[in-house]
């Protein structure tokens, strides 16, 4: 599948991912991260997915591209918001010089970037906390299962070594202990 090369920057042979068309990069990011009901994919999957489209890359290049593209999307959002704010101000009849526009724009853009980055970090921390809780719950469940198994083993041994029970009675007791009745 041929995709247009981005007009934003002149691509080099050794920067194939950044040089892909904007839509192609967006598709790649979506494929990698997932979104909505769509699950994300591993770097290995992404390398294969790109290879099918004639783009040769490596997991390491994908990793570098991912952290770059994430920031690019964030800056793009902040830049668009800043432009809208500046435009509104100009439409409102504010008499401001180019220098003031630039100063306001830069200030707004930087504040938005810092805030958005903080929000994302907060969201990541929350996701991490939830995952940590899930891991702790699973660990607890596994520990209980191990304990249950050890108890069953001990009881089974006890039954097997009881000389007063017949073979059938032993089988019956073991079945009861294992809960296979």
């Amino acid at each position: 599948m041929d995709k247009p090369i981005s007009a934003e920057r002149k691509p080099r042979g050794d920067s194939s991912l950044k040089g892909l068309g904007p839509d192609h990069q967006h598709d790649l990011y979506f494929y990698m991260e997932g979104g909505g009901k769509e699950r994300g994919h591993t770097y290995k999957d992404c390398v294969s997915w790109l290879a099918l489209q004639g783009v040769e890359t490596t997991k390491s290049k994908l990793s570098k591209w991912r952290s770059w593209y994430w920031m690019r999307l964030l800056f793009q959002d902040c830049g668009e918001t800043t432009e809208a704010i500046v435009e509104d101000e100009l439409k409102g009849g504010a008499m401001i010089t180019d220098e003031q526009i630039e100063r306001k724009g830069n200030r707004t853009f930087n504040l938005l970037a810092i805030k958005t980055r903080n929000d994302k970090m907060w969201a990541r921390q929350q996701t991490l906390a939830v995952r940590k809780q899930a891991v702790t719950a699973t660990e607890r469940k596994v520990a209980l299962e191990i304990k249950k198994y050890e108890d069953q083993c001990a009881k089974t041994k006890e039954v097997e070594s009881d000389p007063e029970l017949t073979a059938d009675e032993k089988q019956e007791r073991i079945r009861q202990i294992l809960g296979t009745d």
């Binding site: 934003e8 920057r9 080099r12 050794d14 920067s15 950044k18 290049k61 570098k64 952290s67 770059w68 593209y69 920031m71 690019r72 800056f75 793009q76 902040c78 830049g79 800043t82 432009e83 220098e99 630039e102 100063r103 724009g105 830069n106 200030r107 853009f109 930087n110 970037a113 810092i114 980055r117 903080n118």
Partner: protein, 90 residues
């Protein structure tokens, strides 16, 4: 504080962040410092400014709106900076 042996990596991190910014606006040291954390560095604004001045002298970054006060200094990447990043495989 950024150890001397990691200065080059820190420079690369700064360039990577500047490279990701494709808007008409420049990035201030405070914002750059925040994004540096994503890349494993926790510099002070002063350290970032020092390296940005070095990168500016090397022609890889440029300071926008120099007429503004020192508190509002902003930087953008230059074509030479982008070329360097591509050559380094970033």
């Amino acid at each position: 504080m950024i150890p001397t042996e990691k200065t080059e990596l820190f420079d690369n991190a700064l360039l990577k962040i500047l490279d990701a910014n494709n808007t008409p606006w420049g990035l201030q040291a405070q914002a750059l410092c925040m994004f540096c954390r994503e890349l494993g560095f926790a510099p002070s604004a002063g350290e970032a400014v020092g390296r940005l001045e070095y990168l500016t002298a090397k022609g890889m970054a440029h300071e926008v709106a120099k007429v503004l006060g020192k508190a509002n200094r902003c930087w953008k990447i230059t074509d030479a900076g982008r070329r360097y990043m591509d050559e380094q495989g970033f």
